[in-house]
Symmetry: C2
Subunit: 442 residues, 2 copies
């Protein structure tokens, strides 16, 4: 086996929604109140919805840029590769990178659909959230059957509508949903409240995965506004540990042994420590905490329910025997700055060579297929979706992966000394961008 024989499925990528996303999925009346894509006189893009202004059309979608420009946040579609928001170009970019299939989180709606939670008129939110799901499943994923794992979002502010939407998504063939790992940050009851019981039940009955993407409910904190930005970037994936520990203690996991949670963009190398620490904490404290894991250890529960994923994680893969090797998957994180596009196979091959072929198959595609009920090989012969085959197709199609220069908002002013970029610079850039847009929107 060599890297060209790999079949790679990525369980965490992102899509920037195109301007016409709602056009085919809403009545004329509902389209009028839907999120609206706007272009200002400088060519900057933003969305407006129910009086809110959403400037971050690209959110760190820097794929394909010169590395020097990674810090310049794209503020219009023109500042990004076409593959970020056009599905045929996306598939070309996947081919060039040897990615057979991919699960995409939304951008302007929020990874977790949080934008619809923030809106005041929830009856409108419900209509537009469903239209997002229709666009995502039928139009984006549907354009290339077998190349995408659909992932819906839910109107969790309304439990009846949530259960209906789960059933509706399941009928469409959608096997995953994304939600905020800390619903209390959205003003909803905590996951330990009985409020959620109908949803757990519906998800399990439909054998659907709950994806918890980093950065929603418990984002990585900035150590200070003076902190060099690489410190923040370093701690991002591990920040999901707060939510992971909370979900690990969810009693529904004991009631529903088949419940499935994906920690999206989690990394894997810290997880054996985390499981051992959870076991230690339980052993030391159970006499007064009254907690229980159904006679199992917390690590048993973690291994049974939680899928984690990695971009580039040699230490974690070296310690695959300290994880559940059936619950680890690859993620590409296209088009965000951590993505190794278009060199994923090269990096991946380096860190998995010590594994058996069976283990390689599991972490590169088998686990993702089983966990997400996604049968790539129903659509394609294996030999047609290997790294080698996909890259040959990309070459034949003339997919250009040369890094390019794009414009975009910059963290440091032109002419400013080449000092280190700190957390405060990013905050200022985002605030400036938001203010600019708000002035236009206002």
């Amino acid at each position: 086996m060599d890297k060209n024989d790999l079949v790679i499925i990525s369980v965490d990528d992102h899509v920037t929604e195109p301007p016409d996303m709602f056009d085919k999925h809403l009545s004329a009346a509902d389209l009028k109140t839907a999120p609206k894509f706007c272009v200002d006189e400088n060519g900057k893009n933003y969305w407006t919805y129910q009086g809110m202004f959403m400037p971050s059309v690209g959110l760190n979608a820097v794929v394909g840029r010169l590395p020097e420009e990674y810090g310049m946040e794209p503020s219009s579609l023109e500042e990004m590769r076409d593959g970020v928001y056009k599905v045929d170009d996306r598939v070309n970019d996947m081919n060039a990178n040897g990615i057979a299939a991919s699960l995409n989180f939304g951008t302007c709606v929020g990874f977790d659909g949080g934008r619809f939670h923030k809106a005041e008129d929830k009856s409108l939110s419900l209509i537009h959230l469903r239209a997002y799901n229709d666009w995502h499943v039928d139009e984006w994923c549907g354009a290339h059957p077998g190349r995408f794992i659909p992932c819906g979002i839910l109107p969790t502010w309304d439990m009846k509508a949530t259960v209906e939407e789960i059933n509706r998504l399941a009928k469409k063939g959608c096997t995953a949903i994304s939600m905020n790992e800390a619903p209390t940050s959205q003003g909803l009851p905590s996951i330990h409240n009985e409020y959620w019981e109908p949803m757990w039940k519906a998800l399990v009955e439909n054998d659907m995965v709950t994806c918890l993407h980093i950065g929603a409910g418990h984002p990585a904190p900035h150590a200070s506004m003076d902190s060099p930005i690489e410190a923040w970037i370093t701690t991002m994936p591990m920040s999901v540990s707060t939510g992971a520990a909370d979900w690990l203690n969810l009693e529904a996991l004991l009631k529903y042994p088949n419940m499935k949670i994906a920690l999206s963009e989690s990394g894997i190398g810290w997880i054996p420590y985390f499981m051992e620490r959870a076991d230690f904490s339980h052993a030391r404290h159970k006499a007064w905490t009254n907690s229980g894991f159904g006679g199992l250890k917390p690590s048993d529960i973690f291994k049974r329910h939680f899928m984690s994923c990695f971009i580039d994680d040699a230490f974690g893969l070296k310690n695959l025997d300290s994880l559940n090797e059936d619950m680890v998957a690859y993620e590409c994180d296209y088009p965000h700055s951590d993505t190794l596009w278009p060199e994923v196979p090269e990096y991946l091959w380096k860190s998995i060579q010590h594994l058996t072929e069976a283990q390689i198959e599991k972490v590169t595609n088998g686990n993702a297929m089983r966990f997400f009920n996604f049968d790539l090989f129903k659509h394609f012969k294996r030999e047609d979706v290997t790294v080698g085959a996909l890259r040959a197709k990309a070459a034949a199609d003339g997919v250009d992966t040369t890094p390019k220069s794009y414009s975009g908002d910059k963290p440091l002013a032109d002419g400013e000394a080449k000092r280190r970029v700190v957390s405060g610079d990013l905050m200022k850039m985002f605030a400036h961008h938001a203010q600019n847009g708000a002035n236009k929107a206002g």
Copy 2:
């Protein structure tokens, strides 16, 4: 070699300050304004200082209790083992546990001396902070030469006084100081500000260690008030990663290659992942962040400057080759709820047996001695401070380690159903305790 041959030094334990701590270290006038230990009519203890009320005399000092009572916070000295606040009893407890030497953080003054930062009259704070250091170094540690690694606190609100105190502590033979890993949380400039330069210089010139204890500047967040408390306990040590990433990016580490940072109560198993992630983030982002590590990788800097420590961490010790084996030390965390007292040697032996004798010597005592400039064997022959020798002494001295029942504040009301204890219960218990005391103090 067997467990009785180990010589164990712990780089993280705690002391509850006794009521008379200031008596020998202040003039009559300064004693009048010093922190004052009080007993209310119910026998509860608290300290008052400059109008502040400090109820947590024990802060989780549950050592020696029945496990069912771990959640009951001690609110008076009588609710704790004598070893928590009496030095001779402490040494007896160390003997019973096979601990040769120990570094102790303060309690009512804060791990980081934060109490003196919160006080309004900083000229008084400075006087009393120095008296704390005198008590800690001369009286507590001085009572049993060679059994304690002294660790001072600093008046970092005043850089001139800070440098003077570093020099004063160094002359006393103190080789470590403890500070808040996020001084911005105390209203001070961030560690990246030139404000700190005189302090870095003084610490390096005196070859002193800077200890950053978990829980000060970036405490582990509670996922929600409904979150089972074991989730919070699980994530506590790893919460230091935010501060660790920030300090890893400190430019002073390039200027001072001998600067020494101890991540106190950090755990170790997550650190290889953290270093790999820091290297990845730097490699991917350095073109726009303008960061630099002096031509080295972030992991090289981490390995050169940062000591981490473990209580019980089989995964980390299994992966000692992915850490710097010269920069890992043992910690006991007496008298807090994570401590394995009085069975440390039994737990420790299980997780280090695969190491070479040289490695065992490093992680159990050698690294701590080198890093903290602490020469245990100047005071004792090796054979007199082994686990076997110390336990024989404890047995001869009749040290009783039988778990006992103590009273204390409880997280759940008497008669309440045996439901799981959640974050909100602890918050309520602390608030109740604080309110009670505030009423008395007021």
